[in-house]
């Protein structure tokens, strides 16, 4: 087990170098002029000033040198300070946000995290619950229903789904509006009496004991949460179902039944525990689905998260903001996959032995 974790950790630096190289290579598609936004807020217009900036920050140097500067920063020959360096959290200046990319990310992450947290509830409950029900009623109606839900979930493009629920539940019925809060409350949370502990409205309102604001934020969250998560319900449902079916066919289940145990005990003690191990491994896929989904979901529902920032940046070809987003998502994704791999090793003894 220890060897397995060590091996996994040893590969990590190689992946990180590869990922940063890949992002840096994409950055090279830009000319040195556009790349100077890594260091200066406003790119100068005059030719001589531009040349000075390019020389000052080494933007005309060979690829490997520039990569190193980009990674760890560079001592500014004029002021003696260290400038840039993504490892120091300097991602350059966002053209759309008119501010450092890091600030855009920091300000917008809470919204995205809030959306992701609420999405986990239906993913886990609907996905796993329906998956287990389907397997226990193999080929009966709950199973058929699960199949239809899964196939529909896979085939529905997120943006069409999001617009359709807006059409029905907002434009037609007027139940769930887009945006983050109703107008009257969005002023309220800026007042001094309201403390923003986490910057997540649904959680802060609870901490401030403002249940009216909490309910309003839930009303705004329901449609985006469903839109963001239905693909993951489908995924989890499918994996849980097939994994349960597989576990139900094992010899130890036959043995347990032969011992005269009730079906309930067989399922709870013998089947479910083993069936849920593979389910844990798709946590990585779920995170990927959520990260892909926030770009679309936040754009449609007009939510100020990092996904909508990335979409806006992509539209105006603001490469630095996008690469900041790429770096963030890749780092998060690598971390999640590492945790999942290690967890899988802990949960499943067969992996440990390999």
């Amino acid at each position: 087990m220890t060897a397995y974790i060590i091996r996994r950790l040893l590969v990590l630096p190689i992946i990180l170098i590869g990922v940063t190289l890949l992002i840096f290579a994409m950055l090279q598609v830009l000319g040195p002029v556009e790349r100077s936004a890594l260091y200066v807020r406003d790119i100068p217009h005059s030719e001589t000033a531009l040349d000075a900036v390019i020389r000052r920050y080494g933007l005309d140097q060979p690829f490997y040198k520039q990569y190193w500067y980009w990674l760890v920063g560079r001592v500014d020959p004029e002021t003696g300070e260290t400038v840039g360096g993504v490892l120091r959290g300097e991602l350059g200046y966002s053209r759309t946000g008119r501010e450092p990319v890091v600030d855009t990310l920091k300000r917008r992450i809470p919204m995205t995290v809030e959306l992701a947290i609420w999405s986990m509830i239906p993913i886990v409950f609907i996905g796993i619950w329906l998956g287990i029900k389907a397997a226990l009623n193999h080929n009966k109606w709950p199973d058929q229903l699960a199949r239809v839900v899964a196939i529909l979930g896979y085939s529905f493009p997120t943006f069409v789904f999001g617009l359709l629920v807006l059409l029905v539940f907002y434009a037609r019925l007027g139940w769930f509006p887009p945006g983050r809060l109703s107008t009257e409350f969005s002023q309220e949370i800026l007042k001094p009496g309201f403390v923003n502990y986490t910057q997540m409205v649904s959680i802060d309102s609870l901490l401030n004991l403002r249940f009216d604001i909490f309910l309003d934020s839930l009303r705004h969250l329901i449609l985006p949460v469903v839109t963001l998560s239905y693909l993951s319900w489908a995924l989890l449902l499918k994996v849980t179902r097939s994994s349960m079916l597989e576990a139900l066919r094992q010899d130890y289940v036959t043995t347990a039944r032969a011992k005269g145990l009730s079906e309930k005990v067989v399922v709870n003690r013998h089947v479910r525990k083993n069936a849920l191990i593979p389910v844990a491994t798709i946590a990585g896929t779920t995170v990927a689905a959520l990260l892909n989904g926030v770009v679309i979901t936040e754009t449609i529902f007009n939510l100020p998260g990092i996904g909508s920032a990335a979409a806006a940046a992509a539209l105006s070809l603001d490469v630095l903001t996008m690469l900041g987003f790429a770096l963030f998502t890749a780092a998060l994704f690598i971390l999640v996959n590492l945790v999942v791999d290690i967890m899988y090793g802990v949960l499943d003894p067969r992996v440990r032995l390999e």
Binding site: G18, L22, V29, P157, V295, I296, A313, L317, V319, A326
Partner: protein, 344 residues
């Protein structure tokens, strides 16, 4: 390995057996099982019918939605004026209408062209876009899936066959590419490519290929690792077969089946991703016959979607059905090829 022949009772009439063995002789037992499975499973039959519908739609696009004249670039949706307000289905077509009325047009109950599915802002005809969009979907899907499969198969089979440091290097390369969530990576690369290629199908397609091959590489590598240990491969190797011959003749044909499942699922999924990029504005130019691009017009009408439902409903149904067709076929293929499901 035809379990059904062994288990089938002797009284099966000769004709049936004849037909079965003829098919097997033609394509081999595994392919015969696969083809039989696909046409007997009701879900995959439904999928095949849907897909056949889209192929027919693409083939007969010039009849279903004639371009406005002979010199018209058929990929561009004709527009009836420039006004920003979308018009509902059934609005008469004033300017730039097709100069022919096809024979089937009578069943719509109109003598002259109307906007059957309405128009978007900028007065692009939605019916035309949905019909010709099927060509874009089939073309982009085939292009992206074939290219990424070829790259993935080349890399995966090299890694699996040679093993050792070749395998290590190539698999680390794969891990670097899968460190990015797929759509996020494609969005970023596509938007970087837009200034180079201009707004067309190419930036998004290239980006989807660049990050889409990894699945095939990993799958094929795994399959090859297990296949190359089989006796018949060892035997061929011992009798002096060259590497390339071994891979093409003995390993690939036996390792390729799981790839087929992913291939068919991807044919749908890639088109949905391409549409998502188009929807976000990183794709084809405005007015190009592409389903995602039509839906993207709805972004300006979020607050009045109940009035302008037709902008998302018609292209949305096309996208949903297209994705569903491939998913149904892919799912059925997976069941047929799953050794645990064999003989059930």
């Amino acid at each position: 390995m035809s379990a059904d022949v062994v288990s089938s009772p002797v009284q099966l009439d000769d004709e049936y057996l004849d037909e079965q063995s003829r098919l097997e002789k033609l394509v081999g037992p595994e392919w015969a099982r696969l083809l039989r499975g696909i046409v007997t499973n009701p879900l995959s039959v439904a999928g095949l019918i849907i897909l056949a519908g889209f192929v027919l739609m693409a083939v007969f696009a010039p009849v279903l939605a004639p371009p406005i004249n002979e010199n018209w670039d058929s990929k561009i949706i004709p527009r009836d004026g420039f006004s920003a307000e979308p018009k509902p289905p059934g609005t008469p077509w004033e300017r730039n209408k097709p100069n022919t009325i096809p024979f089937w047009y009578g069943i719509t109950g109109n003598d002259d062209w109307v906007h059957l599915f309405g128009t978007t802002s900028g007065q692009y005809d939605i019916w035309y876009g949905v019909i010709w969009g099927s060509r874009t979907a089939l073309f982009v899907g085939t292009l992206v899936v074939t290219s990424s499969a070829i790259i993935g198969i080349l890399i995966g089979s090299t890694a699996g066959f040679y093993g050792g440091w070749v395998d290590e290097t190539l698999m680390r390369l794969v891990e670097i590419f899968i460190a990015f969530p797929f759509l996020v990576a494609a969005l970023i690369l596509a938007s970087i490519l837009v200034p180079i290629f201009g707004r067309s199908i190419w930036p998004a397609s290239i980006a989807l290929i660049a990050f889409g091959w990894t699945g095939y590489a990993r799958l094929l590598r795994g399959d090859i690792l297990s296949t190359k240990e089989r006796d018949y491969v060892q035997a061929a190797q011992a009798s002096g077969a060259r590497d390339i011959h071994l891979i093409l003749r003995h390993i690939l044909p036996n390792a390729i089946y799981p790839t087929l499942v992913v291939l068919s699922l991807d044919m749908g999924a890639i088109v949905l991703s391409f549409a998502a990029l188009s929807f976000l504005g990183i794709g084809v130019q405005e007015g190009y016959a592409d389903w995602g691009q039509i839906v993207s017009f709805a972004r300006s009408w979020i607050l009045t979607l109940d009035k302008h439902w037709y902008i998302i409903v018609f292209p949305g149904i096309a996208l949903l059905l297209y994705g569903m067709g491939w998913n149904l076929v892919g799912d059925a293929l997976r069941d047929i090829l799953d050794p645990k499901m064999r003989g059930r």
